[in-house]
C-alpha cells in the first residue's frame, strides 16, 4: 500500500534551487533510502516531507491525505501530517524522562493515561529499554538514546517514519547492529520508512529501494543490487562502491562494447553512457576495486602491469598497480612481490562514460 507520494518537489533558497523536482513513492513495510553526498538536497527533501521546510512547488500525499500542494497553496504544518521523525542528534527533550519523551505523542493525541503507560512500556520493553523508563536522556548512552528516539517516533503509529541519518552518531560496530535491527523492526511493524543517509553501505544494507540524489535531483533509483551493479551515470557508478577511475581515449566502438586505452595499454569495456560514445572521444571508466583480480603468474586474459607496492589492510592486501598512465587499486588475499603482475579485468566491469564537463 502506497503511504507516501512525493511529486515534483522544488525548493529554492534565495536565488539557488536546492530541490529540482524530486518525485518518488514509498510503500508500507519497506524502506526507501535517500542517498547522496552532502549538499545533494536529501535532508532538505526529508524536511519538506516532514513539513519543517516549505517547498515552493510540488505535491506531497501522506497516507492518502494531501499535506502539500504548491498550486493550491496548501501546506499543512508538521503536527498535522501524522509522521514520525528521528533526528540525527536524536533531539530527546532533556527535561523529560524516557517515559515522558516516548509518551508525549500519545498525550497529544488524547490517549488515556493508563493506555499511554501500557503502550509506552510495551514499546520500551520491545526495544530492551524497559528498565530505563524513568531515566533522563542525559543518563543514557548514545545507542540507548537513539532507540528512545525511535520509540518516540513510532509509538503513536505514524503513517510514515522519517529517519535523518539515524546511525551517524553511533560508533562503527554499533552502527552495523543498529541498521540490522532497524530494518527488522520496520519490516515487522510494516511501517513505511524513509531513511536519509550519506553512507552507501547503510543504504545498501537497510533499504529496499534507494534513491540516489545529486544536486537536488534524483539521478537513479532502484533496489540495492540494481543500483550497485547497474549504474546509469558516472555519478551513480562513482558514488557507490570503491572504485578505480580511469581517464582514457576510446579506440574502437562496437555497439555497447568499446576498447579504451592510453599510453601503452588498452582495455575492453562496456559503454554505459546513455547517449552513446564515438571512437577517439575522451572517456572515463569506472572499475570497482573488487572486480580486478591480480596474480603473479602470467595469465593470457590478464593485462600485464607493474605492482608498485602491496599494502597490508588487516583482512586483505591492497595492490597498487600501474601501466603507463593507467593506475589502479586491487585487493587480494596475499602479499605479492613488487614487479610484474597480471590483472584480470572483465570487460563487463569496465564501465565507460564520457569524460564529463572537464
Amino acid at each position: 500500500m502506497t503511504e507516501l507520494v512525493v511529486s515534483n518537489v522544488q525548493k529554492w533558497l534565495g536565488g539557488l534551487q536546492i530541490l529540482k523536482g524530486a518525485s518518488f513513492t514509498a510503500e508500507r513495510g519497506s524502506i526507501v533510502a535517500l542517498l547522496g553526498a552532502s549538499g545533494s538536497g536529501k535532508t532538505t527533501l526529508l524536511r519538506c516531507v516532514a513539513g519543517l521546510e516549505q517547498p515552493e512547488i510540488g505535491q506531497i500525499v501522506i497516507g492518502g491525505k494531501t499535506v502539500l500542494d504548491g498550486e493550491k497553496k496548501l501546506a499543512l504544518p508538521p503536527e498535522q501530517r501524522n509522521i514520525g521523525l528521528v533526528f540525527q542528534s536524536y533531539a530527546l527533550w532533556p527535561h523529560r524522562t524516557v517515559k515522558e519523551n516516548v509518551g508525549y505523542g500519545l498525550k497529544l493525541r488524547n490517549v488515556a493515561q493508563a493506555d499511554i503507560e501500557k503502550r509506552v512500556q510495551g514499546i520500551l520493553d520491545r526495544m530492551g529499554l524497559g528498565h530505563l523508563a524513568d531515566r533522563f536522556p542525559s543518563q543514557l548512552s548514545g545507542g540507548q538514546q537513539q532507540r528512545v528516539a525511535i520509540c518516540r517516533a513510532l509509538v503513536y503509529e505514524p503513517r510514515v517514519l522519517l529517519l535523518d541519518e539515524p546511525l551517524s552518531n553511533l560508533d562503527a560496530k554499533l552502527r552495523e547492529e543498529a541498521r540490522y535491527w532497524i530494518r527488522k523492526l520496520i519490516l515487522d511493524l510494516e511501517i513505511c520508512a524513509i531513511l536519509v543517509t550519506h553512507d552507501q553501505s547503510e543504504a545498501l544494507a537497510a533499504a529496499d529501494n534507494i534513491l540516489l540524489l545529486q544536486d537536488g535531483r534524483i539521478v537513479q533509483q532502484g533496489g540495492p543490487q540494481e543500483i550497485y551493479s547497474n549504474p546509469n551515470s558516472f555519478y551513480s557508478a562513482d558514488f557507490l562502491g570503491a572504485n578505480n577511475i580511469v581517464r582514457a581515449k576510446i579506440k574502437t566502438v562496437d555497439g555497447r562494447t568499446a576498447v579504451i586505452g592510453g599510453d601503452n595499454w588498452s582495455l575492453n569495456g562496456t559503454i554505459r553512457e546513455t547517449v552513446g560514445l564515438n571512437a577517439s572521444q575522451d572517456a572515463r571508466a569506472v572499475i570497482r576495486v573488487e572486480q580486478i583480480s591480480v596474480t603473479d603468474s602470467p595469465a593470457a586474459d590478464g593485462l600485464e602491469m607493474n605492482l608498485d607496492d602491496s599494502i597490508y589492510l588487516g583482512d586483505r592486501w591492497e595492490y597498487r598497480l600501474r601501466r603507463g598512465d593507467f593506475v589502479a587499486k586491487a585487493h587480494g588475499a596475499k602479499q605479492l612481490a613488487s614487479g610484474k603482475v597480471w590483472a584480470r579485468i572483465p570487460p563487463e566491469s569496465v564501465w565507460v562514460f564520457s569524460a564529463g564537463a572537464q
Binding site: R47, L52, L76, E79, G84, L85, W93, Y156, D215, R217
Partner: protein
C-alpha cells in the same frame, strides 16, 4: 538522465551561503503568525505611542491638553535660540567623550588583567568589577558627595592633613572622572567576553613563530578585541548622552547642565510645565542617540564576526604576572574598586548613621539610627520603599513574562514582523529613562481610558517595561536561542502545535534562564530613578525618584538613608541573581 557534473565544492559553498542568507522557512500556517503579529503590534504601540506623543508635542505651542495649543515651531525657535541649550549640548558632548576616554582604557585594562593573566582572586574580582553597574548612578553620585564633596568625610580628613582639598567634584572634570570610573564595568563586560572568546590557538600560533607574550598581546590580542573596544566606546557615548543622575547631583549646584538636566530644569525655570520645550529637547536627544544605537548595532554584528572565528577551546596559557606583577595588577584594580565602590558606598553607609555632618563635627558623637526612625515616620518614604520592592520583585517577574511573550513572538520568526521587532527594540535604547517617564506621563494624561491608571503603579510598571525592554529581551532571546531547533522540530513532528511546543518544550527548557533573567530585571527596576521623576505621584513613590525630588530640598539625612536601603536591596538582588545562576556577564 543528465550527466553534467558541476564542481561540487563551488556548489556546496553557494548552498551554504544561500542558507545563511535565507534561512529555511516553516509553512506559513500553523506557525503562530497571528500571535506573532499581535504581540509585536502591541509592543510597537507601547513603544511608538510615547515617542509619537513627544514628537507631536514638540510641534505645539503649548501643552497638548491646553486649549491654546496650536501647531507651530515656536518651541523649536525658543530652544534653538537659547544659549543654555547650546551650552548643555556642548557639555553633554564633552562629558560623553571624556567619560569614554576614562572608561574604555581602564575597562580594557581590567578585562585584560582578569581574563588574560593569572591574577589572584579572579572569581571574586569578576563579580566585584561589575558592582558599580548595578548601583543607580544617583546613589553613586550622592555617595561621592558625602565622601569627597566639599564637606565630605574624606575631603575633611584630607584637609585636616594637608590644609586644602585638592579636588572639586562639583565641576565638569569631576563629573567626567566619576562617570568614567563608574562606567568601567560596561566596557569590561564587552571586552572581557571578546577576550574570552579569543581562541588560544591564534595566540599560540603567534608564540610559536617567536613572538613574546607581550608582543602577542599587542599584535594579536589587541587587534582581535578592537571591535569590542570600539563597540564599548560607542555604547558609553550613548550612555553619556542619556546620563542624568551624576550631572544632576554634581553639576547642578554649580549650574553645569547636560541635555537631560536641561529638560529637567525647564520645568522649574518657568514655574509652569513647558511641555513643548521639554519635547523639543527630547526630540533633539533622540536624533542624537538613535544614530548611535544604529551604529552600535552594526558594530556589534561586526564584533560577532570576529568572535565567531574562534572555537571554544579552553585557554591554555595565561600571562604569568609574577609576584611584583600581581602586586601592581591587584593595586590597580584595588585602587579602582576603592574609588568607584568603597568611596561612594562607604560614604553613604557612614552618612546614613550620622545626624548632622560638617566641619568640627565628631563622627563618633553623631552615630545614630535617627535617620531611619525619622524616615519611617514619613508615609511617602515608607510607601516609596514598599513600591520599589513591589515593582522590582513582582513587576520584574511580570516584565520577564512579557519579555518572554515578545521573545517567543520573535523566536524562529523570519517574517516581516521580526524586522519590525528588531527596530522597535532599538528605540527605547535611544531614550533616556527621564524621557520615557515623561512620555508615558503624557500618554497616561492624553489617552482617556488610561487616565485612571496614571496615579497607580501600573503607569510606572508600563514605563519600566519599556525602559528594560532591550536589556530584558536580549536576556530572553539569548536564553531561547540556546534551545536546539531539533528539540522544537521533534515536538512538531510528534504532533504538537507551535503553542504546545512552546509550552511543553521551550519554556520548561529555558526555565532556569528565566529565573536568572528575573533577578537581573529586578536589579534594573530597583536602581531605576529617572523614569519615575515625572510619573510618580502621591501613592506611587519609588526610592530613586524620591531621591531626585529630595535633592531639591537638600534633605541629606533622608537621602542617605534611602541610598543605603537602595544599596542593600540591590545587594540582595545581586546575591539572588548569582544564586539563581544568572549570567551577569552577558
Amino acid at each position: 538522465m543528465s550527466t553534467h557534473a558541476p564542481a561540487p565544492a563551488a556548489l556546496t559553498m553557494t548552498k551554504a551561503a544561500a542558507e545563511k542568507r535565507y534561512p529555511a522557512r516553516m509553512p506559513k500556517n500553523g506557525n503562530a503568525n497571528a500571535y506573532r503579529r499581535i504581540v509585536i503590534g502591541l509592543l510597537a504601540i507601547a513603544v511608538l505611542a510615547p515617542v509619537g506623543l513627544i514628537i507631536y508635542q514638540s510641534f505645539l505651542t503649548a501643552a497638548f491638553f491646553s486649549p491654546r495649543a496650536k501647531f507651530g515651531f515656536d518651541a523649536y525657535r525658543y530652544v534653538f535660540t537659547d544659549k543654555n541649550f547650546y551650552r548643555a549640548l556642548g557639555t553633554t558632548a564633552i562629558f560623553s567623550f571624556g567619560m569614554v576616554a576614562i572608561a574604555v582604557p581602564l575597562g580594557g585594562l581590567l578585562a585584560f588583567l582578569i581574563t588574560r593573566t593569572d591574577i589572584k582572586a579572579k572569581r571574586l574580582l569578576e563579580i566585584l568589577v561589575l558592582v558599580p553597574m548595578f548601583i543607580s548612578s544617583i546613589v553613586l553620585a550622592f555617595g561621592y558627595t558625602v565622601s569627597v564633596g566639599p564637606t565630605g568625610f574624606v575631603s575633611l580628613f584630607v584637609r585636616d592633613l594637608i590644609g586644602i582639598v585638592p579636588w572639586n567634584i562639583y565641576s565638569l572634570p569631576g563629573m567626567i572622572l566619576i562617570a568614567g570610573l563608574s562606567h568601567v564595568p560596561h566596557v569590561y563586560l564587552y571586552v572581557s567576553s571578546a577576550m574570552r572568546n579569543l581562541p588560544s590557538d591564534l595566540e599560540e600560533a603567534a608564540r610559536t613563530t617567536g613572538a613574546s607574550i607581550w608582543q602577542v598581546s599587542r599584535d594579536v590580542t589587541l587587534p582581535m578585541v578592537l571591535p569590542a573596544l570600539i563597540f564599548a566606546a560607542a555604547l558609553n557615548i550613548l550612555l553619556g548622552f542619556e546620563t542624568f543622575g551624576i550631572p544632576l547631583v554634581l553639576g547642578d549646584p554649580n549650574g553645569i547642565m547636560v541635555l537631560t538636566t536641561y529638560i529637567y530644569k525647564l520645568t522649574t525655570l518657568f514655574g509652569t510645565p513647558t511641555y513643548q520645550l521639554m519635547a523639543v529637547v527630547a526630540v533633539v536627544l533622540i536624533l542624537i542617540t538613535l544614530p548611535l544605537v544604529w551604529m552600535q548595532r552594526r558594530l556589534l554584528r561586526n564584533a560577532r564576526k570576529y568572535a565567531a572565528m574562534g572555537g571554544k577551546g579552553a585557554r591554555v596559557s595565561t600571562l604569568k604576572l609574577g609576584t611584583s606583577g600581581q602586586l601592581i595588577a591587584l593595586s590597580i584594580i584595588g585602587f579602582w574598586l576603592f574609588v568607584s565602590v568603597v568611596l561612594p558606598i562607604g560614604g553613604i553607609a557612614v552618612r546614613a548613621f550620622v545626624d548632622a555632618w560638617g566641619e568640627g563635627v565628631n563622627l563618633w558623637d553623631q552615630l545614630t539610627f535617627a535617620n531611619f526612625d525619622r524616615m519611617l515616620e514619613v508615609p511617602s518614604l515608607v510607601r516609596g520603599i514598599i513600591n520599589t520592592v513591589v515593582l522590582s520583585v513582582f513587576g520584574g517577574a511580570l516584565a520577564v513574562g512579557i519579555y518572554l511573550l515578545v521573545g517567543l513572538a520573535g523566536h524562529r520568526n523570519w517574517g516581516m514582523s521580526n524586522t519590525v521587532l528588531d527596530y522597535i527594540v532599538l528605540l527605547p535604547r535611544a531614550l533616556p529613562g527621564l524621557v520615557i517617564g515623561l512620555a508615558f506621563f503624557w500618554v497616561f494624561l492624553f489617552v482617556p481610558f488610561l487616565t485612571p491608571l496614571r496615579p497607580t503603579l501600573v503607569s510606572l510598571f508600563v514605563a519600566y517595561v519599556v525602559v528594560g525592554l532591550s536589556y530584558g529581551l536580549r536576556l530572553l532571546q539569548g536564553t531561547l536561542i540556546q534551545v536546539a531547533p531539533e528539540l522544537e522540530e521533534s515536538a512538531r513532528t510528534t504532533g504538537a502545535t507551535i503553542g504546545r511546543t512552546w509550552k511543553d518544550v521551550v519554556i520548561p527548557i529555558v526555565r532556569p534562564g528565566l529565573a536568572g533573567a528575573w533577578a537581573l530585571i529586578m536589579i534594573i527596576f530597583l536602581r531605576e530613578y529617572a523614569t519615575g521623576v515625572y510619573l510618580m505621584g502621591a501613592g506611587t513613590e519609588v526610592i530613586g525618584s524620591l531621591m531626585v525630588s529630595l535633592l531639591q530640598t537638600g534633605a541629606m539625612n533622608t537621602i542617605a538613608a534611602l541610598s543605603l536601603i537602595s544599596i542593600v536591596l540591590t545587594g540582595a538582588g545581586l546575591a539572588l541573581a548569582l544564586r539563581l545562576g544568572a549570567k551577569i556577564h552577558d
